[in-house]
Symmetry: C2
Subunit: 235 residues, 2 copies
DNA sequence: TGCTCGATTTCGCCA
DNA sequence: TGGCGAAGTCGAGCA
């Protein structure tokens, strides 16, 4: 990885056109040829970037750069698309390279825990959270338009489709509506009720769901995990 | 901005729990207190990060780190939430700081062109792309559930609602469907037809749209821009 | 401030 | 490989 601190002007042309006026910035050149342009603020998203595969060509400034105080021109071109990032280097303040990775030179990679999959697993094991006498039919119940997160049976034996979200938005209600429409065409399952379960449900989503006769269920992830393990998971 | 190349082990606890095994990585510490952890591959998204406002505290290794070859412990805590990023520093290979920004120390910021807004502007000006004899009623036509991108009138005088996307997905069709349902309740407008216009339309979205009697229209941004300016915009 | 929607989204899964 | 849904999504615009 090569880290360059430089006064630069940047133009991007691809899905959109973008321009960065002259300023001092961090240029990160990764080993796969990709480049990130970071300023000292903003969040983790760079001001500009080019993702791999791409190639960097260093050019001498041409006539069009006369009088612009340009020392070098970097042409970063995407291999597969027509995207081009042009970096005009005015002054290089620092330029260092380092080898990253573990002993083998590879990045071990991130280990995650606690996303929607975990929520689904917990609700499947604690299916009675949906109501007394509920039983699980199956998780990821496949349909022609995609998998229903959880399919269950209520105390009376009627089928219930559950859509799970971390944050319950209007999109989730639409998704569940499409599943219910499809499931209710199956004479072996119909009538199928819907439950919209999430750690947080937006007011507009709740309203839309209730208008459509879909029940809303707030989930407490910490409590559900507590029931399961008795103690928070540590590394 | 401070750039540290270090052999490190990282744990994150917040919305999810994540772990990064020991390896050499780039740690970017921005002036606003935020931190990014980058490896030599992947795209612009860091392996781990903490966005501002947050504080970094450097601790001496405690008993729980005995035998783990830990030189320093960085506790990065979000000011508003309970998110915590713990960086175990095994070895620092490089540690440099630089002032970024322009002459005033500020980042001038990115200038963009060519997103959905531009597409909407172009289609409004070239409304005949919808069909012969079409006329514009207005852009961003407000309704109770949000603005319709473009409302037009066809040759026969009937209202047409247009939903614009760069990439036409199922969500866009759902959105247009909600607008049409609402607009068709207005006796002054009804009946209102729908047109789903995008640079690219996913097969599933096209199918859903056609099932609902919504017309699909592929847009050629480059061609539309060419009609408008006669020449591509340059910086 | 809260909500909605776009993004050069990126990322990961599954058919 | 392509399509699709989730993301520690982020960020802008608007009520």
């Amino acid at each position: 990885m090569r880290l360059v601190i430089a006064e630069c002007t940047i133009n991007y042309s691809g899905r959109l056109t973008a321009h960065l006026p002259q300023a001092t910035r961090l240029l990160v050149l990764k080993n796969d040829g990709s480049i990130l342009v970071h300023s000292d603020s903003g969040s983790y998203k760079p001001l500009n970037w080019m993702n791999p595969p791409c190639t960097i060509t260093v050019l001498e400034p041409g006539e069009e750069h006369a009088g612009l105080d340009v020392a070098e021109v970097w042409q970063v071109a995407q291999t597969k698309t027509a995207d081009v990032l042009t970096v005009l280097i005015h002054r290089v303040l620092s330029d260092v390279s380092h080898e990253l990775g573990d002993a083998t030179g590879a990045e071990p990679g991130l280990v995650k825990d606690g996303v929607e999959a975990a929520l689904q697993e917990l609700l499947a094991e604690q299916i009675e959270l949906l109501g007394e006498g509920f039983s699980l039919i199956r998780r990821e119940y496949m349909t022609a338009i995609g998998p229903v997160d959880i399919l269950a049976r209520d105390a009376s034996g009627a089928a219930v489709a559950v859509e799970l979200k971390r944050r319950g938005d209007i999109d989730g209600v639409e998704q569940l509506t499409r599943y219910l429409e499809l499931l209710n065409r199956d004479p072996l399952l119909a009538p199928v009720r819907g439950v919209f379960a999430a750690q947080e449900i937006k007011p507009q989503a709740r309203k839309l769901a209730e208008d459509r006769g879909i029940e809303c269920l707030l989930l407490d992830y910490e409590a559900m995990r507590g029931v399961e393990s008795g103690a928070p998971k540590l590394f």
